[in-house]
Structures are given as structure tokens and as C-alpha cells.
Amino acid sequence: MKEKARKESQKRKSRLAKIFMSPAILIQFFFGWLPIGMAFAVCLFHYHVLKPEEYVGLANFQDLFADPLTFQVIKNTFIYTGMSLAIFLLPVIVSILLMEMNKSTIRIMMYLWFFPIASTASIVIWKWMYNTEYGLLNSILMSLGLPTLRWLNDPRLVIFCLILPGILMYGPSLIYLATIQSIPDELYEAAELEGAGFWSKVWHITLPRMRPVLAMMLLLSIIGSMSVFSQPWILTHGGPNNASMMVVMRIVNLAIYNMRYGKGTALAIILFAILMVIIIIQRKYFKEDIDR
């Protein structure tokens, strides 16, 4: 009898659950799974402007591999990702060091270090700073008596210039601070009794405790940098001479401005394959859970 009532109530709950979930299921199907599945079909077609699309098999991929620009954009994207990983640890270090200050300093500094501004705005500010004639950076160099640089117009410097705006957008840093503050004090007290110093506390307690968050943030950061779009698009638009052209920019260029939907999607699938390999490696070697 009781069993029956329980089943009855679960059935009622399930029905309600279906109602609650239905909008999410619809959206997730149409804008989540359908386009992903469709991508594997789109990449096999050639889209003509006036005629209907034509099945071309893997010709789009052949086309891409014959194009030196493809390798260039992939190389650029890897360089960009490597460089942006160099600043990945900066907010972590800052968060750890911030804890050493006294309470009121922490409050002020947290605002100063971590308050965010709109991301396009920060990119645009850097564009103005990099301006070769009237920009701040060159005028600083000039006043120090150093030769001025061509910043965004210099093919060797341009990718380095692209990662600097990221320093102004510190959105996720609050997550680090919150994680550090949630580490129980007893752990540190116990370590102190055993004579642990600053570095061994950071190395043996803080960093392992932050590990799940760090692993996830690292993954998100790699995915984000591999698919970077707005910084190069706004700052250089791919120039000079494609030195800062990234994979996603190339996809957008191909698809939106040249109507090469098939070729663009084929490039997207190559990016997808590269990212999947990175994700699998990362999840295999960077275990998230410290207790496991």
C-alpha cells in the first residue's frame, strides 16, 4: 500500500518534472544538439550562390589542407593559446598573496585588482593605447628615450599584443578568491603546528584544495583561447598579412562574408578535433578531485 502511494507520488513528480523541463529540452535540442549534428553534414556540401547545394564528400577538407592559410591560422591560434596560458596563473597568485594583507586592504585591493569592465571596452582601450602615433605606450617609450614599436602592425609582436587586453577582464578571479576563503582554517593551523612555512602551506594545502577549480578554469581558458575571436577581430582584423588571423575568425570570414558554409564548417570540425584531443589529455592527466 505504502509502496503504491510512493510510486504514485513519484509519477506525479515526474509529470511535473517533464513540464518544468520542456522549454529547456526544446532549446537544448534545437540550439544545442541539432546544429552540432548538422555540422557533420554541412561540411560535406558545397554551397553555390544560386544553385542548390551539391554533395562533394571530403573535398572541403582537401581544399582546406591545400590552403597554406589554414596552417597559418592554426599555428597562430596555438601561439595565442600558449601565451594566454602564461597569464592564466596571474589571478591565482594575486588571490593567494592578497590573503596576506590585513582585512581592510583586502577589501580595497579586491576592487582594484578584480573589478571588471566591459570586454569590448577593454579591447578598444588597448587599441587606443597601441596607436602608433598618438597612443600611450609609444609616448611612454619615447619619453624614456627608447625606439618606438609598431605594436599591432608588427607581425612578430602582434600576437603578444593580443593577450594583454585579457588582463583587464578579471571576471573569474572572484571564483579563486571564494575558493581560497572556503578552505578551512584548521588545515593551516595544523600545518603551522607541524612547522610548515608559507610556501609549503601554499604547495600542500592551498593549491591542492584549489585543484578542481583550477582544472576547470584551465580547461575553460584553453577552450576560450583556442576559439578566440573578439580580441584579434577588433584589434587587427587578422592583419598584418594574416599574422594574427585565428581559426574562428577564418571560419566567420569563410562563412559569413564568402558564403563558403561547407569549407567553414570543415575548418570548425578540425578545430573541434584538436580541442577534443586537448580535453581528453587534460581530463586524463589533471584529475579534478583531490579525494579520489
Partner: protein, 345 residues
């Protein structure tokens, strides 16, 4: 808690270390403030002063002229005529772009947060274990797949929902096309694809899982309906996670650039982020945006004559950043307590 123990803080060596840390942090703060200072002072410079060499670090004649211009000006910058078929550079006053940003951002939040939260609650607390496992994978599976792969199909899908093809297919055996909606060049093109988010779903579910079932069951025994349980019990205790998701959702939508650029191709619909980027391209003489259409230098000269160049752009950047900053202050306390990320478990 501070890691350097309280006891030894008087020692010289420890003091030196603390001093170094403090110096490092303050220098970092100063370096971080420089671009923001540069943005601010540029925005209060008059037009002639913007193009001075070397640039002035403290404006000689501070003025709010740039703000006044971006608020009032409209419909003049276009060498081909302001109301011609070609898009101008700043055809509308700034509030139009600001309004677009607000509609897109709050439209996204209003749809995304309830839809995602309800789905997470249903999976976490209502659904039977077998179904909830399957649907959980259905919901978060897309997060494991980088979104760029869906870029072009979604772009096609927007143009005739629900068909992710270039043209609308025919109903079999007839010459009639299936009914389809064109969402291209509407706010919905930005809002609807974002109205479910796997990442926020995971945050919500992680939180709802920590709510003990016994509380909900106690309420059920007392005869509360599921809806009132949701409203009276679950909502109040989930404030931190709602706050965190609201903040993330707000900043993601407010900062979105690529997708609005792709699917909103009329100047009247541009959000602030897109408009800012366009103007910055005009000011630095990058012509990619106006292929096959000359007159860039003329446009630029006209703008500078009106007293409006980088100072106007910087003023717009400040206006764009204010909501982000306000949201940060509003949600900061909640954020600190609300986000304990658990990773993907």
C-alpha cells in the same frame, strides 16, 4: 586566513617578505589602473587635445563635450549621405545601441535563468533516477563539445528556424515549402539560442543537490504543492546560486560580440559592443568593414571636425562599462558566498 603566521610577524625577514608582497600587489594595481585612467582622461579631452604629441596625462581643458556629443549626435557620419542605403558609422544616437544591449541582455537573463533553473530543479529533485540520468547527459553533453562547431549550422538555423539548412526544404511530394521562422536581424536571434546554458545548469544542479530531500518531503507531507515548495522553500535558500548565475549571465550577454555581429546586420539593431568595435575600426583607419566603399578618410575628417574622435569612443566605453561595474558591486557579496565550483562531477 593569512598563511604567514601571526607569531613571527615582528621579525625583520618576515616583515621584508610582507613588504615585498604588498609592493607587488600595489604595483600591479597601478599597472592595471593605467589603461582605465587613460580611458577616463581621453574621454574628457576636447578633440584637438586627443591628437597631441606627446599625449597629455592630465587634460589641460577637461570637458564633457564628448559625452554630450555621443548622447546627442546622430545621422551625419556617412560620406554617402546619412540616410542612404549604405550604413553610416553612427547613424543613431548612442541610446539606440544602449537600448539594444539592454534588450538583448535582459531578454537573455529573463529567459535563460528560469528555463535553466527549472530544468536543473526537475532533474535534481523531481525526476525518477533512470530518466534524470539520461536527461542529465542530454543537458550537459553540449558543454563537453566546443561550441564553434555549431556556429555555421546555428547561423543557418536562425535564418529559417527550425531548419539548419541553407534553404527551406519542401514538404515531401509537393511544391510547398515547410513553414519556417526567419529570426535573422531580430533580437530573438541572439536571445533564444542563449536561453538554455549547460554551464549554469550544472551550477544550479550542484546547488539543488545540496538541498536535503527531507525538507521537501516534510513540506509535501504537510500538503504543500510542488510549486509552493519551489517558491517558498527552494527559492529563498538558493539566493546565492541565483545571484551568481545572474551575474555570469549578465556579463556574458552584455559582453557578447561575435554572435550579435553575425546575426544582427542592421545598424539599428547593433548592441554597444558591436558599435564600439566598428567605431574603433573607423578611427584607426581599418577599412575591412566597408569593403568596396571609399570615403573613409572623409568620414573621419567630418567626425573630427565635429569634435568627436577617440574621446567619444572612450566615453562610449565608459558608458558600456558602468552596468558591468554596478552589477559587480551589487552581486559581489553573493558571489563570494555563492560560487563554490565543484568541477564536473
Amino acid at each position: 586566513m593569512p598563511l604567514i603566521s601571526k607569531v613571527g610577524r615582528r621579525k625583520f625577514r618576515v616583515k621584508l617578505v610582507l613588504l615585498t608582497i604588498g609592493a607587488f600587489l600595489w604595483i600591479g594595481v597601478i599597472l592595471r589602473m593605467i589603461p582605465l585612467w587613460w580611458m577616463f582622461i581621453t574621454s574628457i579631452k576636447p578633440a584637438e587635445e586627443v591628437y597631441l604629441i606627446p599625449p597629455t596625462l592630465f587634460p589641460h581643458r577637461p570637458t564633457f563635450a564628448a559625452y554630450k556629443i555621443i548622447i546627442t549626435l546622430s545621422g551625419y557620419i556617412s560620406s554617402t549621405g546619412a540616410y542612404s542605403a549604405h550604413p553610416g558609422w553612427m547613424t543613431y544616437p548612442m541610446y539606440v545601441y544602449l537600448k539594444n544591449s539592454l534588450i538583448i541582455t535582459f531578454g537573455t537573463m529573463i529567459l535563460q535563468i528560469p528555463i535553466t533553473a527549472l530544468a536543473a530543479y526537475a532533474i535534481s529533485k523531481l525526476e525518477s533516477p533512470r530518466w534524470s540520468r539520461i536527461l542529465f547527459l542530454f543537458f550537459i553533453g553540449t558543454m563537453m563539445i566546443p561550441g564553434q562547431i555549431a556556429l555555421i549550422p546555428t547561423y543557418l538555423l536562425i535564418q529559417h528556424f527550425p531548419f539548419p539548412t541553407r534553404s527551406i526544404p519542401y514538404i515531401p511530394f509537393t511544391k510547398i515549402k515547410w513553414p519556417a521562422f526567419n529570426l535573422f536581424n531580430t533580437y530573438f536571434a541572439v536571445i533564444i539560442p542563449a536561453s538554455f546554458s549547460a554551464f549554469y545548469f550544472l551550477l544550479f544542479k550542484g546547488f539543488f543537490d545540496t538541498v536535503p530531500d527531507s525538507i521537501l518531503n516534510a513540506a509535501r507531507v504537510d500538503g504543500a504543492s510542488e510549486l509552493s515548495i519551489l517558491r517558498r522553500i527552494v527559492m529563498p535558500i538558493s539566493k546565492p546560486v541565483f545571484a551568481a548565475v545572474s551575474y555570469f549571465s549578465f556579463s556574458a550577454a552584455w559582453n557578447s560580440y561575435m554572435w550579435p555581429l553575425m546575426v544582427l546586420q542592421r545598424e539599428k539593431l547593433y548592441p554597444m559592443s558591436v558599435q564600439l568595435a566598428r567605431i574603433s575600426r573607423l578611427l584607426s583607419g581599418q577599412t575591412m568593414d566597408v569593403r568596396g566603399r571609399g570615403g573613409l578618410t572623409e568620414d573621419l575628417t567630418k567626425m573630427i571636425e565635429l569634435g568627436w574622435s577617440w574621446n567619444g569612443l572612450m566615453a562610449m566605453s565608459i558608458v558600456e562599462s558602468i552596468p558591468v561595474f554596478v552589477m559587480f558591486i551589487v552581486f559581489r557579496e553573493y558571489l563570494m558566498t555563492g560560487i563554490k565550483l565543484r568541477g564536473f562531477k
